[in-house]
């Protein structure tokens, strides 16, 4: 290979001496350089093309980068006269041939007369790598960034000096920052000097992105090994004690067997199969087959066979222990340098701590949005429960009706933004009406019978759910958020929150403030609070409790409708939508305490954050998370039977 290279260069010199003077001044022309490497270029393979690439690059010809790009893009052809050319239109026949350097039209040639160079993917990659050095010094910042990206994707030891040279000259701060990141990973992977690598590793300390972790993790890859004594010259990660941690005793012994350091162990559970192969006249080793239903009998039979020499002797547990005791088991780093692995594990631990802290921030944002949803879903329930002492089992169906209202509006109004603006108040109106109707027709007649009210509203709930199923079908209906609510707000690689959740949080906040104002700053609110605390007294002071109850129920139901639109934006709109939220809403009300919006907020916060917290501790099992959640609520009620924020004294009644 090398020899050929030298020979071609010699030939080149000879050609120059013979050739015209015009090209001699600027060195050999591109065509000449290509000609010299013709075989390697035309029959390029991944294993051989590097020589040609080196030669091309070494020639220092101006046209080389352009040629490499064309070659990589499979745009280069060989004309009938052997010249390397481009063609004007790939679909035309015959081709119009263009000069490879100047782009001048050279003439035409039939499709069959030219040879199309089609470098395969491996060759293309190598061409790309060769191109990198040209691109790194390109005046165009985008090209330089693309080159850095290419290095990042297929790093190579040879790029290290190129990158260092580039950084020394780089002016653009953005490109420089990227280049330094790439340099860090390259340094960590390929630098000769361990000190340099450690410095680069420590330089990653402040980073939290996946790339930084991906750079460090491979350094800490280990391989499990066994030896008679701990080797001196390896980078040991951990010495393992068989039978503890993640090295079970028998697994350790199996390693010994595989390393030919110990004879194979016959497990008790394998005896049956082995003995089955040695049944002779219903006997195994002199023991009748029917007696082989205990381990002791099977051992006896095996021992007999072993004594005959038919089977190898059993390895005893004591032998296993002895074998394990006389060997060391350890994990060794694939990376030989201890300084590097130490720095990497320390830096990675630091990164993981930071990532962990940020994950908690992210989780808190998730929790906050869950809290908003529970608050919206439960506040209506809490108000009606507080004022009227009535649990509305159809509350979930009101949420569901709100969601379907949103779906219907979207079906009519094509613009999702306008549809949402219409749907929110409309959902309120629809469910407000439904709530008032239910209050007048049913609940009013069941005052002072809260348990019957609970069951009657359950009857309404199942009827509503089934009617909606009849009208809209059981399948999920879409309620699509407008485009400006798509996507998410990313703070960094770890912390992000979707715009829908921000919007729901805002909605929850708006309703919290709005309800606080209604309850504390309006006449209606005053009357509502009066009825909540002492209905008899309130009615003797001229407040009409029927009217207050009706309005309260309407208000609570109306908010459920709005919550339905909000929930529909991210959940599926089905007839069972409400059922999925009703139990959580109950929990929120029970935990928070009734008759106070702060109580509902506290309850929603507790339930929301707790649920996220449990999910974080046990992410694989949401069922378990919910189970623990409910158990917590049941226990919580033991200690605060009237919720976090409870009415005290006489007003609470008994």
């Amino acid at each position: 290979m090398k020899i050929i290279d030298i020979l071609t260069r010699l030939a080149l010199v000879a050609a120059l001496a013979v050739g015209g003077a015009a090209t001699a001044q600027t060195g050999p022309s591109l065509q000449t350089v290509l000609d010299e490497n013709r075989e390697l270029i035309v029959d390029a393979s991944r294993r051989t093309v590097q020589g040609a690439l080196d030669a091309l690059v070494a020639s220092g010809q101006e046209g080389i980068p352009a040629f490499l790009e064309s070659w990589q893009a499979r745009e280069v052809y060989v004309a009938p006269d052997g010249a390397f050319v481009l063609v004007q239109d790939e679909d035309a026949d015959p081709y119009t041939l263009l000069d490879i350097e100047t782009g001048d039209v050279l003439g035409t040639a039939g499709k069959r007369e030219v040879e199309h160079l089609r470098p395969n993917r491996g060759v293309q990659n190598l061409i790309g790598a060769a191109l990198v050095q040209f691109q790194l010094s390109s005046p165009d910042a985008q090209t330089r960034l693309a080159a850095l990206d290419a290095i990042d994707r297929s790093p190579d030891e040879s790029q290290l000096p190129l990158l260092r040279a580039m950084i020394a000259a780089e002016q653009d701060p953005d490109v420089l920052a990227t280049a330094q990141n790439v340099l860090t990973s390259l340094t960590i992977a390929y630098a000769e000097d361990d000190g340099e690598r450690v410095a680069a590793i420590e330089g990653l300390g402040g980073r939290i992105d996946v790339a930084a972790r991906a750079t460090l993790n491979p350094l800490l890859a280990t391989r499990r090994a066994v030896a008679e004594a701990l080797p001196e010259d390896t980078n040991i990660a951990e010495v393992l004690q068989p039978g503890t941690g993640d090295l079970p005793r028998m697994e350790a012994y199996q390693m010994l067997v595989e390393a030919d350091l110990a004879p194979a162990f016959t497990a008790t559970s394998d005896l049956r199969a082995i003995l089955t192969d040695h049944i002779v006249d219903d006997m195994v080793g002199g023991v009748p087959v029917r007696l082989l239903d205990t381990d002791a009998a099977r051992f006896e039979a095996y021992a007999a066979l072993a004594a005959e020499g038919t089977l190898p002797p059993l390895v005893t547990e004591a032998q296993v222990d002895a074998a394990l005791a006389s060997h060391v088991f350890f994990d060794q780093y694939r990376e030989p340098s201890k300084a590097v692995t130490d720095a990497a594990s320390e830096t990675l631990a630091g990164i993981n701590t930071r990532v962990g802290a940020l994950e908690i921030v992210d989780l808190s944002l998730d929790g906050l949005s869950l809290v908003s949803i529970y608050f919206l879903a439960a506040i209506g329930l809490a108000i009606t429960f507080g004022v009227m002492g009535v649990i509305n089992m159809a509350h979930g169906e009101f949420i569901m009706m709100g969601a379907y209202t949103g779906y219907l509006v979207q079906a009519i109004v094509p613009d999702y933004t306008i549809a949402l603006v219409i749907a929110l108040p409309l959902a309120f109106v629809v469910t407000f009406g439904a709530g008032v109707g239910m209050e007048r027709l049913v609940i009013r007649k069941l005052y002072h019978r809260p348990l019957e009210t609970l069951l009657a509203t359950f009857g309404i709930s199942i009827a509503l759910q089934q009617i909606v199923r009849q009208v809209f079908g059981a399948q999920a209906r879409p309620l699509t958020p407008p485009d400006w609510l798509a996507g998410s707000l990313d703070f960094n690689d770890v912390v992000s929150i979707s715009y829908i959740r921000i919007a729901i949080f805002a909605l929850g906040l708006v309703f919290f403030v709005l309800l606080w104002l209604i309850l504390n700053r309006t006449r209606l609110g005053l009357e509502v609070r009066a009825v909540t605390q002492n209905p008899a007294m309130a009615s003797s002071m001229g407040i009409n409790p029927d009217r207050i109850n009706m309005l309260t129920f309407g208000l609570g139901s109306g908010i459920a409708g709005i919550a339905g639109v909000a929930i529909g934006l991210f959940a599926q709109v089905t007839p069972e939508l409400g059922t999925n939220y009703i139990v959580q809403s109950f929990m929120t009300v029970v935990v928070g305490g009734v008759g106070n919006i702060f109580g509902t907020l506290a309850g929603a916060s507790l339930i929301g954050f707790l649920q996220k917290g449990i999910e974080w501790l046990n992410p694989s099992n949401t069922l378990a998370a919910q189970t623990y959640m409910i158990l917590f609520v049941i226990l919580f009620i033991q200690f605060r039977p009237r919720g976090i924020i409870a009415l005290k004294g006489r007003a609470a009644g008994d």
Partner: protein
């Protein structure tokens, strides 16, 4: 006459409002005592504390010869110790008969198993009939309690109280909403009861208190303002101020 109940230095606060303020009170056995006081004086809260419905923030409630503290007992245990209470509003089991109401109130083992295995004896029936006679409901034993008159319900409740054979009777406004004759009957019942036990009557109606003819304790803003005979306390200038308003 020995001290049966002694309340000392009791205070209780609801949401910053001091309902009972360093109240001390004692009653012997047998004795009749009336507690009077304007609205919000803490009369009902006082009863709540003695019967265990409300826990005081500080102070002691001592009961009986063994000087037991009542503060650590449940409502039911306090009743079993011998304190009976009649609420302001008559509370009888309206869906059950007068007989049933009295039977449930009879002094017997209150444990669930004992009650489950309980079968009424002749003595029980005699006692119920005797009580019904005292409260004038002999003809109504099989009547559903929800259908008898308001005054009869008050007597039934007093009868239920007597059936428990308590050593201390706490009676909250027994004469409210009664006719003249009914009141007289009630007075007689209470006086009869006070011959053998301690009776504390909370009442607004001065005329009724006068008929009871007993020592009077005046409560005001959660503590004792005056104590003595009715004539004595009504002559007290502070009591006059409180009642006539400042």
């Amino acid at each position: 006459m020995s001290t049966l109940l002694e309340v000392s230095g009791v205070s209780v606060t609801f949401d910053g409002y001091r309902a009972i303020n360093n109240l001390s009170f004692a009653i012997g056995e047998p004795e009749m005592r009336a507690i009077i006081g304007p609205n919000g004086a803490g009369k009902t809260t006082f009863m709540d504390i003695v019967t265990g419905k409300t826990r005081p923030d500080e102070g002691q409630v001592i009961w009986g010869e063994k000087n037991e503290s009542l503060l650590r007992k449940s409502e039911a245990q306090i009743v079993q110790a011998g304190i009976g209470r009649k609420f302001q509003r008559p509370t009888v089991f309206e869906e059950q008969t007068v007989y049933d109401n009295l039977q449930v109130a009879l002094r017997k083992d209150r444990g669930p198993l004992a009650v489950l295995l309980d079968r009424p004896t002749k003595a029980d029936r005699d006692r119920i009939e005797e009580l019904a006679g005292e409260i004038g409901l002999s003809d109504h034993l099989d009547t559903i309690a929800g259908t008898i008159s308001h005054g009869q319900k008050q007597w039934l409740e007093i009868g239920m109280l007597l059936a428990q054979e308590p050593r201390l009777l706490l009676v909250d406004e027994p004469a409210a909403g009664m006719t003249k004759e009914e009141r007289d009957h009630t007075t007689d019942l209470l006086k009869e009861a006070a011959k053998t036990r301690a009776v504390v009557v909370v009442e607004h109606d001065m005329e009724f208190v006068r008929r009871l003819d007993c020592k009077v304790t005046v409560l005001h803003e959660g503590s004792v303002l005056a104590e003595g005979t009715l004539d004595h306390v009504t002559a007290d200038q502070r009591v006059i101020d409180v009642y006539l308003g400042r």
